[in-house]
Subunit: 307 residues, 2 copies
Protein backbone atom coordinates (compact mmCIF):
# COMPACT_ATOMS: atom_id res chain seq x y z
CA UNK A 1 0.00 0.00 0.00
CA UNK A 2 1.47 3.32 -1.00
CA UNK A 3 -0.06 5.51 1.72
CA UNK A 4 -1.17 8.97 0.60
CA UNK A 5 -0.85 9.20 -3.18
CA UNK A 6 1.14 11.89 -4.96
CA UNK A 7 -1.85 14.01 -6.02
CA UNK A 8 -2.96 14.39 -2.39
CA UNK A 9 0.55 14.84 -0.98
CA UNK A 10 1.04 17.62 -3.49
CA UNK A 11 -2.21 19.39 -2.66
CA UNK A 12 -1.41 19.08 1.05
CA UNK A 13 1.99 20.66 0.45
CA UNK A 14 0.43 23.51 -1.52
CA UNK A 15 -2.14 24.03 1.22
CA UNK A 16 0.57 24.05 3.87
CA UNK A 17 2.84 26.53 2.09
CA UNK A 18 0.05 28.52 0.48
CA UNK A 19 1.82 28.77 -2.85
CA UNK A 20 2.01 26.81 -6.10
CA UNK A 21 5.53 28.12 -6.78
CA UNK A 22 8.39 25.64 -6.91
CA UNK A 23 12.09 25.96 -7.67
CA UNK A 24 13.98 24.03 -10.32
CA UNK A 25 17.34 22.79 -9.08
CA UNK A 26 19.39 23.36 -12.23
CA UNK A 27 22.96 23.72 -10.97
CA UNK A 28 24.40 25.14 -14.17
CA UNK A 29 28.17 25.09 -13.49
CA UNK A 30 28.85 28.34 -15.36
CA UNK A 31 26.27 30.29 -13.37
CA UNK A 32 26.96 29.07 -9.84
CA UNK A 33 28.11 31.58 -7.22
CA UNK A 34 31.91 31.91 -6.88
CA UNK A 35 32.12 29.67 -3.81
CA UNK A 36 30.99 26.77 -6.02
CA UNK A 37 33.45 27.56 -8.82
CA UNK A 38 34.92 24.06 -8.43
CA UNK A 39 31.90 22.89 -10.48
CA UNK A 40 33.34 24.61 -13.58
CA UNK A 41 37.02 23.99 -12.91
CA UNK A 42 38.23 21.34 -15.32
CA UNK A 43 41.37 20.95 -13.20
CA UNK A 44 39.23 19.53 -10.41
CA UNK A 45 38.32 15.87 -10.39
CA UNK A 46 34.88 14.87 -11.54
CA UNK A 47 34.00 13.92 -7.96
CA UNK A 48 34.93 17.42 -6.76
CA UNK A 49 32.88 19.04 -9.50
CA UNK A 50 29.90 16.83 -8.67
CA UNK A 51 30.25 17.69 -4.99
CA UNK A 52 30.01 21.40 -5.81
CA UNK A 53 26.74 20.78 -7.67
CA UNK A 54 25.35 18.96 -4.66
CA UNK A 55 26.63 21.51 -2.15
CA UNK A 56 24.95 24.34 -4.02
CA UNK A 57 21.71 22.40 -4.39
CA UNK A 58 21.69 21.52 -0.69
CA UNK A 59 22.06 25.17 0.24
CA UNK A 60 19.14 26.04 -2.03
CA UNK A 61 17.09 23.31 -0.36
CA UNK A 62 17.84 24.89 3.04
CA UNK A 63 16.78 28.29 1.69
CA UNK A 64 13.43 27.16 0.30
CA UNK A 65 12.35 24.39 2.71
CA UNK A 66 9.03 25.18 4.33
CA UNK A 67 8.28 27.97 1.88
CA UNK A 68 7.37 26.02 -1.24
CA UNK A 69 5.74 22.63 -1.79
CA UNK A 70 8.37 21.02 -4.02
CA UNK A 71 11.66 21.27 -5.85
CA UNK A 72 12.40 20.04 -9.36
CA UNK A 73 16.01 18.85 -9.75
CA UNK A 74 17.22 18.70 -13.35
CA UNK A 75 18.99 15.41 -13.90
CA UNK A 76 21.08 16.53 -16.89
CA UNK A 77 23.42 18.73 -14.86
CA UNK A 78 24.17 15.84 -12.53
CA UNK A 79 24.57 13.28 -15.31
CA UNK A 80 27.18 15.53 -16.90
CA UNK A 81 29.44 14.40 -14.02
CA UNK A 82 28.77 10.73 -14.73
CA UNK A 83 28.55 8.30 -11.81
CA UNK A 84 29.85 11.00 -9.44
CA UNK A 85 27.07 13.28 -10.60
CA UNK A 86 24.43 10.63 -10.07
CA UNK A 87 25.74 10.13 -6.55
CA UNK A 88 25.32 13.89 -6.06
CA UNK A 89 21.78 13.65 -7.50
CA UNK A 90 20.91 10.98 -4.97
CA UNK A 91 22.22 13.16 -2.13
CA UNK A 92 20.13 16.09 -3.36
CA UNK A 93 16.93 14.07 -3.80
CA UNK A 94 17.35 12.56 -0.34
CA UNK A 95 18.06 15.92 1.29
CA UNK A 96 15.04 17.56 -0.32
CA UNK A 97 12.73 14.83 0.88
CA UNK A 98 14.27 14.94 4.33
CA UNK A 99 13.58 18.69 4.37
CA UNK A 100 9.89 18.03 3.75
CA UNK A 101 9.93 19.06 0.11
CA UNK A 102 8.30 16.95 -2.57
CA UNK A 103 10.75 16.06 -5.32
CA UNK A 104 9.76 16.21 -8.97
CA UNK A 105 12.69 14.67 -10.81
CA UNK A 106 13.10 16.39 -14.16
CA UNK A 107 14.41 13.38 -16.09
CA UNK A 108 12.16 13.42 -19.20
CA UNK A 109 12.59 9.67 -19.67
CA UNK A 110 10.69 7.64 -22.22
CA UNK A 111 11.35 4.12 -23.46
CA UNK A 112 9.52 0.87 -24.01
CA UNK A 113 8.79 -2.33 -22.12
CA UNK A 114 11.58 -3.53 -19.81
CA UNK A 115 13.58 -0.33 -20.39
CA UNK A 116 10.68 1.83 -19.23
CA UNK A 117 10.29 -0.47 -16.22
CA UNK A 118 13.95 0.03 -15.42
CA UNK A 119 13.61 3.82 -15.65
CA UNK A 120 10.56 3.68 -13.39
CA UNK A 121 12.55 1.59 -10.90
CA UNK A 122 15.45 4.04 -11.11
CA UNK A 123 13.46 7.18 -10.37
CA UNK A 124 10.21 6.20 -8.64
CA UNK A 125 11.35 3.33 -6.43
CA UNK A 126 14.17 2.54 -4.03
CA UNK A 127 16.12 4.70 -1.64
CA UNK A 128 16.81 7.60 -4.02
CA UNK A 129 13.28 7.86 -5.37
CA UNK A 130 11.47 11.00 -6.40
CA UNK A 131 7.84 11.73 -5.57
CA UNK A 132 7.18 12.30 -9.26
CA UNK A 133 9.18 12.56 -12.48
CA UNK A 134 8.75 14.13 -15.89
CA UNK A 135 8.31 11.68 -18.78
CA UNK A 136 8.08 11.96 -22.55
CA UNK A 137 4.96 10.68 -24.35
CA UNK A 138 6.63 10.29 -27.75
CA UNK A 139 6.71 6.47 -27.68
CA UNK A 140 3.01 6.15 -26.91
CA UNK A 141 0.78 4.71 -24.25
CA UNK A 142 2.56 1.39 -23.80
CA UNK A 143 5.75 3.30 -23.01
CA UNK A 144 4.00 5.10 -20.14
CA UNK A 145 2.32 2.00 -18.69
CA UNK A 146 5.37 0.90 -16.64
CA UNK A 147 5.61 4.39 -15.12
CA UNK A 148 1.92 4.30 -14.23
CA UNK A 149 2.34 0.85 -12.69
CA UNK A 150 5.16 2.21 -10.53
CA UNK A 151 2.97 5.18 -9.57
CA UNK A 152 0.27 2.78 -8.38
CA UNK A 153 2.73 0.68 -6.40
CA UNK A 154 4.61 3.58 -4.86
CA UNK A 155 2.01 6.32 -4.61
CA UNK A 156 4.15 8.36 -6.99
CA UNK A 157 3.28 10.68 -9.88
CA UNK A 158 4.34 11.57 -13.41
CA UNK A 159 4.26 14.78 -15.37
CA UNK A 160 4.02 13.98 -19.05
CA UNK A 161 5.40 16.50 -21.54
CA UNK A 162 2.48 18.00 -23.47
CA UNK A 163 3.68 21.41 -24.64
CA UNK A 164 7.16 22.49 -23.66
CA UNK A 165 8.27 26.05 -22.96
CA UNK A 166 10.95 26.40 -25.66
CA UNK A 167 10.50 28.07 -29.07
CA UNK A 168 11.13 24.74 -30.87
CA UNK A 169 8.15 23.17 -29.12
CA UNK A 170 6.08 24.27 -32.12
CA UNK A 171 8.12 22.11 -34.53
CA UNK A 172 6.42 18.80 -33.74
CA UNK A 173 4.11 19.40 -30.78
CA UNK A 174 1.86 21.63 -32.92
CA UNK A 175 1.78 19.23 -35.84
CA UNK A 176 -1.58 18.09 -37.18
CA UNK A 177 -5.17 19.14 -36.67
CA UNK A 178 -5.92 19.07 -33.79
CA UNK A 179 -2.34 19.77 -32.89
CA UNK A 180 -0.39 16.92 -31.31
CA UNK A 181 -0.22 18.60 -27.89
CA UNK A 182 -4.01 18.61 -27.70
CA UNK A 183 -4.16 14.96 -28.75
CA UNK A 184 -1.70 14.09 -25.97
CA UNK A 185 -3.69 16.20 -23.52
CA UNK A 186 -6.88 14.33 -24.42
CA UNK A 187 -5.09 11.00 -24.05
CA UNK A 188 -3.79 11.96 -20.59
CA UNK A 189 -7.28 13.01 -19.50
CA UNK A 190 -8.61 9.65 -20.70
CA UNK A 191 -5.84 7.68 -19.01
CA UNK A 192 -6.42 9.55 -15.75
CA UNK A 193 -10.13 8.75 -15.89
CA UNK A 194 -9.29 5.11 -16.56
CA UNK A 195 -6.92 4.94 -13.58
CA UNK A 196 -9.01 5.73 -10.52
CA UNK A 197 -6.29 4.40 -8.19
CA UNK A 198 -4.25 7.44 -9.14
CA UNK A 199 -7.07 9.92 -8.55
CA UNK A 200 -6.65 11.82 -5.30
CA UNK A 201 -9.28 12.85 -2.79
CA UNK A 202 -8.42 16.40 -3.83
CA UNK A 203 -10.05 15.69 -7.19
CA UNK A 204 -6.82 15.67 -9.15
CA UNK A 205 -4.92 12.74 -10.62
CA UNK A 206 -1.31 11.73 -9.99
CA UNK A 207 -0.91 11.81 -13.79
CA UNK A 208 0.19 15.35 -14.54
CA UNK A 209 1.16 17.34 -17.61
CA UNK A 210 3.97 19.76 -18.46
CA UNK A 211 2.69 22.83 -20.27
CA UNK A 212 5.07 25.74 -20.69
CA UNK A 213 4.11 28.93 -18.85
CA UNK A 214 5.27 30.67 -22.02
CA UNK A 215 2.03 29.61 -23.75
CA UNK A 216 -0.18 31.83 -21.60
CA UNK A 217 -3.00 32.24 -24.07
CA UNK A 218 -3.38 28.49 -24.47
CA UNK A 219 -3.16 27.43 -20.85
CA UNK A 220 -6.91 27.68 -20.33
CA UNK A 221 -7.47 25.40 -23.32
CA UNK A 222 -5.10 22.79 -21.91
CA UNK A 223 -6.77 23.15 -18.50
CA UNK A 224 -10.22 22.61 -20.07
CA UNK A 225 -9.09 19.49 -21.91
CA UNK A 226 -7.48 18.00 -18.78
CA UNK A 227 -9.89 18.93 -15.99
CA UNK A 228 -8.36 16.60 -13.37
CA UNK A 229 -4.72 16.84 -14.43
CA UNK A 230 -2.18 18.68 -12.30
CA UNK A 231 -0.14 20.94 -14.55
CA UNK A 232 3.53 21.81 -14.24
CA UNK A 233 4.34 25.18 -15.77
CA UNK A 234 8.02 25.73 -16.56
CA UNK A 235 9.32 28.88 -18.19
CA UNK A 236 8.40 31.35 -15.47
CA UNK A 237 11.01 34.03 -14.95
CA UNK A 238 14.13 33.60 -17.04
CA UNK A 239 12.20 32.15 -19.98
CA UNK A 240 9.98 35.21 -20.06
CA UNK A 241 6.58 34.18 -18.70
CA UNK A 242 5.03 36.48 -16.10
CA UNK A 243 2.50 35.90 -13.36
CA UNK A 244 -0.53 37.06 -15.35
CA UNK A 245 0.07 34.46 -18.04
CA UNK A 246 -0.32 31.44 -15.75
CA UNK A 247 -3.77 32.13 -14.32
CA UNK A 248 -5.60 30.05 -16.93
CA UNK A 249 -3.85 26.89 -15.80
CA UNK A 250 -5.45 26.94 -12.36
CA UNK A 251 -8.78 25.60 -11.15
CA UNK A 252 -11.31 27.88 -9.50
CA UNK A 253 -11.12 27.97 -5.70
CA UNK A 254 -13.93 26.52 -3.67
CA UNK A 255 -15.21 27.64 -0.29
CA UNK A 256 -13.51 24.67 1.33
CA UNK A 257 -10.36 25.02 -0.65
CA UNK A 258 -8.75 28.45 -0.62
CA UNK A 259 -5.22 27.47 -1.71
CA UNK A 260 -4.33 27.52 -5.40
CA UNK A 261 -5.31 24.28 -7.10
CA UNK A 262 -4.33 22.48 -10.24
CA UNK A 263 -0.89 23.75 -11.21
CA UNK A 264 2.67 24.35 -10.09
CA UNK A 265 4.70 27.27 -11.41
CA UNK A 266 8.39 26.53 -11.63
CA UNK A 267 11.34 28.86 -11.91
CA UNK A 268 14.99 27.87 -11.98
CA UNK A 269 17.54 30.48 -13.01
CA UNK A 270 15.55 33.53 -11.98
CA UNK A 271 15.69 32.25 -8.41
CA UNK A 272 18.95 30.26 -8.31
CA UNK A 273 21.06 32.85 -10.02
CA UNK A 274 19.29 36.04 -8.96
CA UNK A 275 22.62 37.24 -7.52
CA UNK A 276 23.82 37.84 -11.08
CA UNK A 277 21.18 40.51 -11.68
CA UNK A 278 22.02 44.18 -11.34
CA UNK A 279 19.08 44.85 -9.07
CA UNK A 280 20.36 42.37 -6.50
CA UNK A 281 23.89 43.85 -6.46
CA UNK A 282 25.38 43.94 -2.98
CA UNK A 283 23.33 41.01 -1.72
CA UNK A 284 24.75 37.58 -1.00
CA UNK A 285 23.57 34.99 -3.48
CA UNK A 286 21.38 33.50 -0.77
CA UNK A 287 19.70 36.83 -0.07
CA UNK A 288 19.25 37.47 -3.77
CA UNK A 289 17.65 34.05 -4.26
CA UNK A 290 15.47 34.52 -1.21
CA UNK A 291 14.31 37.89 -2.51
CA UNK A 292 13.64 36.52 -5.99
CA UNK A 293 11.60 33.65 -4.59
CA UNK A 294 9.61 35.99 -2.35
CA UNK A 295 8.92 38.21 -5.34
CA UNK A 296 7.77 35.24 -7.42
CA UNK A 297 5.54 33.91 -4.65
CA UNK A 298 4.08 37.39 -4.22
CA UNK A 299 3.48 37.99 -7.92
CA UNK A 300 1.93 34.58 -8.51
CA UNK A 301 -0.20 34.91 -5.39
CA UNK A 302 -1.46 38.32 -6.50
CA UNK A 303 -2.26 37.06 -10.00
CA UNK A 304 -4.21 34.14 -8.53
CA UNK A 305 -6.04 36.19 -5.88
CA UNK A 306 -8.95 36.83 -8.18
CA UNK A 307 -9.58 33.20 -9.10
CA UNK B 1 39.47 18.58 -34.72
CA UNK B 2 37.40 15.47 -34.30
CA UNK B 3 39.32 13.15 -36.65
CA UNK B 4 37.17 10.75 -38.67
CA UNK B 5 33.53 11.60 -38.09
CA UNK B 6 30.96 9.09 -36.86
CA UNK B 7 29.32 8.44 -40.24
CA UNK B 8 32.64 7.35 -41.73
CA UNK B 9 33.81 5.42 -38.65
CA UNK B 10 30.53 3.52 -38.81
CA UNK B 11 30.81 2.71 -42.50
CA UNK B 12 34.42 1.61 -41.99
CA UNK B 13 33.30 -0.71 -39.17
CA UNK B 14 30.55 -2.18 -41.35
CA UNK B 15 33.03 -2.66 -44.20
CA UNK B 16 35.50 -4.34 -41.86
CA UNK B 17 33.01 -6.75 -40.30
CA UNK B 18 30.88 -7.19 -43.41
CA UNK B 19 27.61 -6.95 -41.51
CA UNK B 20 25.14 -4.25 -40.45
CA UNK B 21 24.04 -6.34 -37.45
CA UNK B 22 24.66 -4.97 -33.99
CA UNK B 23 23.80 -6.19 -30.50
CA UNK B 24 21.86 -4.24 -27.88
CA UNK B 25 23.39 -4.57 -24.43
CA UNK B 26 20.18 -4.78 -22.39
CA UNK B 27 21.22 -6.60 -19.21
CA UNK B 28 17.71 -7.35 -18.00
CA UNK B 29 18.32 -8.71 -14.46
CA UNK B 30 15.52 -11.28 -14.64
CA UNK B 31 16.81 -12.82 -17.84
CA UNK B 32 20.55 -13.00 -17.13
CA UNK B 33 22.21 -16.43 -17.02
CA UNK B 34 22.39 -18.02 -13.55
CA UNK B 35 26.01 -17.01 -12.95
CA UNK B 36 24.85 -13.37 -12.95
CA UNK B 37 21.92 -13.99 -10.60
CA UNK B 38 23.37 -11.43 -8.19
CA UNK B 39 21.83 -8.83 -10.52
CA UNK B 40 18.34 -9.86 -9.42
CA UNK B 41 19.10 -10.67 -5.79
CA UNK B 42 17.64 -7.92 -3.63
CA UNK B 43 19.74 -9.21 -0.70
CA UNK B 44 22.86 -8.11 -2.56
CA UNK B 45 24.04 -4.54 -2.32
CA UNK B 46 23.30 -2.21 -5.19
CA UNK B 47 27.01 -2.17 -6.02
CA UNK B 48 27.04 -5.97 -6.32
CA UNK B 49 23.94 -5.94 -8.52
CA UNK B 50 25.48 -3.29 -10.74
CA UNK B 51 28.69 -5.28 -10.97
CA UNK B 52 26.75 -8.29 -12.26
CA UNK B 53 25.22 -6.14 -15.03
CA UNK B 54 28.67 -4.98 -16.04
CA UNK B 55 30.24 -8.44 -15.82
CA UNK B 56 27.59 -9.90 -18.12
CA UNK B 57 27.89 -7.01 -20.57
CA UNK B 58 31.68 -7.32 -20.64
CA UNK B 59 31.40 -11.01 -21.49
CA UNK B 60 29.03 -10.19 -24.32
CA UNK B 61 31.49 -7.59 -25.58
CA UNK B 62 34.21 -10.26 -25.64
CA UNK B 63 31.86 -12.59 -27.56
CA UNK B 64 30.96 -10.09 -30.27
CA UNK B 65 34.12 -8.00 -30.67
CA UNK B 66 35.46 -8.16 -34.19
CA UNK B 67 32.27 -9.68 -35.56
CA UNK B 68 29.93 -6.69 -35.55
CA UNK B 69 30.49 -2.98 -36.03
CA UNK B 70 28.87 -1.68 -32.85
CA UNK B 71 27.01 -2.38 -29.65
CA UNK B 72 24.06 -0.44 -28.27
CA UNK B 73 24.01 -0.40 -24.45
CA UNK B 74 20.61 0.44 -22.94
CA UNK B 75 21.10 3.03 -20.22
CA UNK B 76 17.89 2.27 -18.31
CA UNK B 77 19.09 -1.07 -16.95
CA UNK B 78 22.20 0.58 -15.55
CA UNK B 79 20.37 3.61 -14.15
CA UNK B 80 18.12 1.24 -12.22
CA UNK B 81 21.17 0.67 -9.99
CA UNK B 82 21.67 4.40 -9.45
CA UNK B 83 25.20 5.77 -9.18
CA UNK B 84 26.60 2.22 -8.97
CA UNK B 85 24.80 1.38 -12.19
CA UNK B 86 26.18 4.44 -13.95
CA UNK B 87 29.66 3.42 -12.85
CA UNK B 88 28.95 0.01 -14.43
CA UNK B 89 27.70 1.77 -17.59
CA UNK B 90 30.96 3.70 -17.81
CA UNK B 91 32.94 0.46 -17.48
CA UNK B 92 30.88 -1.14 -20.25
CA UNK B 93 31.15 1.81 -22.63
CA UNK B 94 34.90 1.98 -22.08
CA UNK B 95 35.36 -1.76 -22.57
CA UNK B 96 33.37 -1.78 -25.79
CA UNK B 97 35.39 1.04 -27.26
CA UNK B 98 38.62 -0.60 -26.13
CA UNK B 99 37.48 -3.77 -27.92
CA UNK B 100 37.16 -1.83 -31.18
CA UNK B 101 33.38 -1.67 -31.14
CA UNK B 102 31.52 1.56 -31.81
CA UNK B 103 29.16 2.42 -28.98
CA UNK B 104 25.66 3.71 -29.65
CA UNK B 105 24.37 4.73 -26.23
CA UNK B 106 20.64 4.08 -26.08
CA UNK B 107 19.73 6.94 -23.77
CA UNK B 108 16.81 8.57 -25.65
CA UNK B 109 17.54 11.95 -24.06
CA UNK B 110 15.77 15.13 -25.02
CA UNK B 111 15.68 18.47 -23.23
CA UNK B 112 16.22 22.14 -23.92
CA UNK B 113 19.03 24.67 -23.80
CA UNK B 114 21.56 24.17 -21.00
CA UNK B 115 19.98 20.84 -20.01
CA UNK B 116 20.44 19.48 -23.52
CA UNK B 117 24.02 20.75 -23.46
CA UNK B 118 24.58 18.89 -20.20
CA UNK B 119 23.18 15.66 -21.66
CA UNK B 120 25.40 16.07 -24.70
CA UNK B 121 28.39 16.56 -22.40
CA UNK B 122 27.38 13.51 -20.37
CA UNK B 123 27.13 11.08 -23.28
CA UNK B 124 29.11 12.49 -26.22
CA UNK B 125 32.11 14.03 -24.45
CA UNK B 126 34.58 13.12 -21.76
CA UNK B 127 36.16 9.84 -20.75
CA UNK B 128 32.97 7.73 -20.78
CA UNK B 129 31.66 9.03 -24.08
CA UNK B 130 29.72 7.09 -26.68
CA UNK B 131 30.32 7.31 -30.41
CA UNK B 132 26.65 8.14 -30.89
CA UNK B 133 23.48 8.25 -28.78
CA UNK B 134 19.76 8.00 -29.38
CA UNK B 135 17.80 11.22 -28.81
CA UNK B 136 14.13 12.18 -28.78
CA UNK B 137 12.88 14.85 -31.19
CA UNK B 138 9.74 15.71 -29.19
CA UNK B 139 11.01 19.09 -27.97
CA UNK B 140 11.92 20.32 -31.45
CA UNK B 141 14.91 21.52 -33.35
CA UNK B 142 16.36 23.81 -30.70
CA UNK B 143 16.46 20.83 -28.32
CA UNK B 144 18.64 18.90 -30.78
CA UNK B 145 21.01 21.77 -31.55
CA UNK B 146 23.26 21.18 -28.50
CA UNK B 147 23.61 17.52 -29.47
CA UNK B 148 24.53 18.49 -33.03
CA UNK B 149 27.07 20.99 -31.71
CA UNK B 150 28.66 18.22 -29.63
CA UNK B 151 28.66 15.95 -32.70
CA UNK B 152 30.59 18.60 -34.63
CA UNK B 153 33.10 19.12 -31.84
CA UNK B 154 33.62 15.44 -31.05
CA UNK B 155 33.03 13.72 -34.38
CA UNK B 156 30.09 11.94 -32.78
CA UNK B 157 26.64 11.02 -34.05
CA UNK B 158 22.99 10.94 -33.00
CA UNK B 159 20.12 8.66 -33.88
CA UNK B 160 16.89 10.57 -33.56
CA UNK B 161 13.70 8.64 -32.79
CA UNK B 162 11.44 8.78 -35.84
CA UNK B 163 9.24 5.69 -35.64
CA UNK B 164 9.78 3.33 -32.74
CA UNK B 165 9.30 -0.44 -32.83
CA UNK B 166 6.59 -0.78 -30.16
CA UNK B 167 2.84 -1.09 -30.81
CA UNK B 168 2.17 2.24 -29.04
CA UNK B 169 4.38 4.06 -31.55
CA UNK B 170 1.21 4.62 -33.57
CA UNK B 171 -0.43 6.67 -30.78
CA UNK B 172 1.38 9.94 -31.45
CA UNK B 173 4.03 9.22 -34.09
CA UNK B 174 1.35 8.59 -36.72
CA UNK B 175 -0.67 11.67 -35.81
CA UNK B 176 -1.54 14.15 -38.55
CA UNK B 177 -1.32 14.17 -42.30
CA UNK B 178 1.43 13.59 -43.25
CA UNK B 179 2.02 11.57 -40.14
CA UNK B 180 4.40 13.03 -37.55
CA UNK B 181 7.10 10.43 -38.20
CA UNK B 182 7.34 11.56 -41.82
CA UNK B 183 7.49 15.21 -40.77
CA UNK B 184 10.35 14.38 -38.40
CA UNK B 185 12.05 12.36 -41.15
CA UNK B 186 11.83 15.33 -43.52
CA UNK B 187 13.21 17.64 -40.85
CA UNK B 188 16.16 15.32 -40.20
CA UNK B 189 16.92 15.14 -43.92
CA UNK B 190 16.87 18.93 -44.07
CA UNK B 191 19.05 19.34 -40.98
CA UNK B 192 21.54 16.85 -42.40
CA UNK B 193 21.72 18.78 -45.65
CA UNK B 194 22.24 22.00 -43.69
CA UNK B 195 25.07 20.50 -41.64
CA UNK B 196 27.75 19.53 -44.15
CA UNK B 197 30.35 19.16 -41.36
CA UNK B 198 28.47 16.05 -40.26
CA UNK B 199 28.28 14.54 -43.74
CA UNK B 200 30.76 11.71 -44.21
CA UNK B 201 32.85 10.84 -47.22
CA UNK B 202 30.73 7.69 -47.41
CA UNK B 203 27.79 9.87 -48.44
CA UNK B 204 25.89 9.47 -45.20
CA UNK B 205 25.40 11.95 -42.39
CA UNK B 206 26.26 11.53 -38.71
CA UNK B 207 22.63 12.48 -38.02
CA UNK B 208 20.79 9.18 -37.98
CA UNK B 209 17.22 8.02 -37.39
CA UNK B 210 15.63 5.21 -35.40
CA UNK B 211 12.95 3.41 -37.39
CA UNK B 212 11.60 0.16 -35.97
CA UNK B 213 12.36 -2.96 -37.99
CA UNK B 214 8.79 -3.92 -37.13
CA UNK B 215 7.53 -1.44 -39.74
CA UNK B 216 8.90 -3.38 -42.70
CA UNK B 217 6.47 -2.12 -45.29
CA UNK B 218 7.26 1.50 -44.49
CA UNK B 219 11.03 1.29 -44.27
CA UNK B 220 11.49 2.09 -47.96
CA UNK B 221 9.38 5.22 -47.55
CA UNK B 222 11.51 6.38 -44.63
CA UNK B 223 14.65 5.57 -46.62
CA UNK B 224 13.39 7.61 -49.58
CA UNK B 225 12.61 10.63 -47.40
CA UNK B 226 16.03 10.50 -45.68
CA UNK B 227 18.41 9.58 -48.51
CA UNK B 228 21.61 10.40 -46.58
CA UNK B 229 20.49 9.35 -43.11
CA UNK B 230 21.89 6.24 -41.43
CA UNK B 231 19.01 4.25 -39.99
CA UNK B 232 18.99 2.22 -36.79
CA UNK B 233 16.46 -0.59 -36.90
CA UNK B 234 15.47 -2.01 -33.51
CA UNK B 235 12.91 -4.76 -33.08
CA UNK B 236 14.75 -7.51 -34.95
CA UNK B 237 14.37 -10.90 -33.33
CA UNK B 238 12.47 -10.85 -30.04
CA UNK B 239 10.16 -8.07 -31.18
CA UNK B 240 9.17 -10.09 -34.23
CA UNK B 241 10.81 -8.51 -37.25
CA UNK B 242 12.58 -10.88 -39.64
CA UNK B 243 15.40 -10.40 -42.11
CA UNK B 244 13.19 -9.87 -45.16
CA UNK B 245 11.44 -6.91 -43.56
CA UNK B 246 14.56 -4.77 -43.22
CA UNK B 247 15.75 -4.74 -46.84
CA UNK B 248 13.96 -1.50 -47.71
CA UNK B 249 16.01 0.45 -45.19
CA UNK B 250 19.28 -0.14 -47.05
CA UNK B 251 20.90 1.75 -49.88
CA UNK B 252 21.77 0.00 -53.14
CA UNK B 253 25.32 -1.30 -53.31
CA UNK B 254 27.76 0.26 -55.69
CA UNK B 255 30.63 -1.36 -57.57
CA UNK B 256 33.09 0.28 -55.19
CA UNK B 257 31.05 -0.43 -52.13
CA UNK B 258 29.97 -4.04 -51.65
CA UNK B 259 29.20 -3.92 -47.90
CA UNK B 260 25.67 -3.11 -46.74
CA UNK B 261 25.09 0.62 -46.55
CA UNK B 262 22.68 2.88 -44.80
CA UNK B 263 21.31 0.95 -41.85
CA UNK B 264 22.14 -1.04 -38.73
CA UNK B 265 19.94 -3.90 -37.58
CA UNK B 266 19.91 -4.33 -33.83
CA UNK B 267 18.87 -7.27 -31.72
CA UNK B 268 19.06 -7.53 -27.94
CA UNK B 269 17.22 -10.35 -26.22
CA UNK B 270 17.26 -12.78 -29.11
CA UNK B 271 21.06 -12.75 -28.91
CA UNK B 272 21.74 -12.02 -25.23
CA UNK B 273 19.26 -14.51 -23.85
CA UNK B 274 19.28 -17.14 -26.60
CA UNK B 275 20.24 -19.69 -23.92
CA UNK B 276 16.65 -19.53 -22.66
CA UNK B 277 15.28 -20.92 -25.92
CA UNK B 278 14.42 -24.59 -26.26
CA UNK B 279 16.41 -24.97 -29.47
CA UNK B 280 19.62 -23.92 -27.72
CA UNK B 281 19.13 -26.34 -24.82
CA UNK B 282 22.40 -27.96 -23.74
CA UNK B 283 24.54 -25.07 -24.91
CA UNK B 284 26.29 -22.65 -22.58
CA UNK B 285 24.77 -19.18 -22.68
CA UNK B 286 27.84 -17.99 -24.54
CA UNK B 287 27.48 -20.68 -27.21
CA UNK B 288 23.76 -19.99 -27.51
CA UNK B 289 24.40 -16.26 -27.94
CA UNK B 290 27.18 -16.92 -30.43
CA UNK B 291 24.89 -19.19 -32.44
CA UNK B 292 22.03 -16.70 -32.36
CA UNK B 293 24.29 -13.90 -33.54
CA UNK B 294 25.71 -16.05 -36.35
CA UNK B 295 22.19 -16.91 -37.41
CA UNK B 296 21.18 -13.26 -37.43
CA UNK B 297 24.25 -12.21 -39.38
CA UNK B 298 23.57 -15.00 -41.86
CA UNK B 299 19.88 -14.23 -42.29
CA UNK B 300 20.41 -10.49 -42.66
CA UNK B 301 23.31 -11.07 -45.07
CA UNK B 302 21.19 -13.39 -47.19
CA UNK B 303 18.28 -10.95 -47.28
CA UNK B 304 20.63 -8.15 -48.37
CA UNK B 305 22.50 -10.23 -50.95
CA UNK B 306 20.16 -9.20 -53.71
CA UNK B 307 20.43 -5.47 -53.12
Amino acid sequence: MPGVIFADRLQAAVDRTGTPCIVGLDPHPELLPPEFAAARDQNRSRAERARALADFSLEVIDLVAGQIPAVKPQSAFFEACGADGVQAWERVVGAARAAGLLVIGDVKRGDIAASAEAYAAAYLEGAARCDAITVSPFLGRDSLAPFLAACRREGAGIYCLVRTSNPGSADFQRHGEPELSFVIADALARWSAETPELMGECGLSSIGAVVGATHGAELARFRARMPATPLLLPGYGAQGAGAASIVGAFLPRTKQQRAPRGALVTSSRAVLFAYREERHAGRTWQDASRAALEEMIGAVGAALAEL
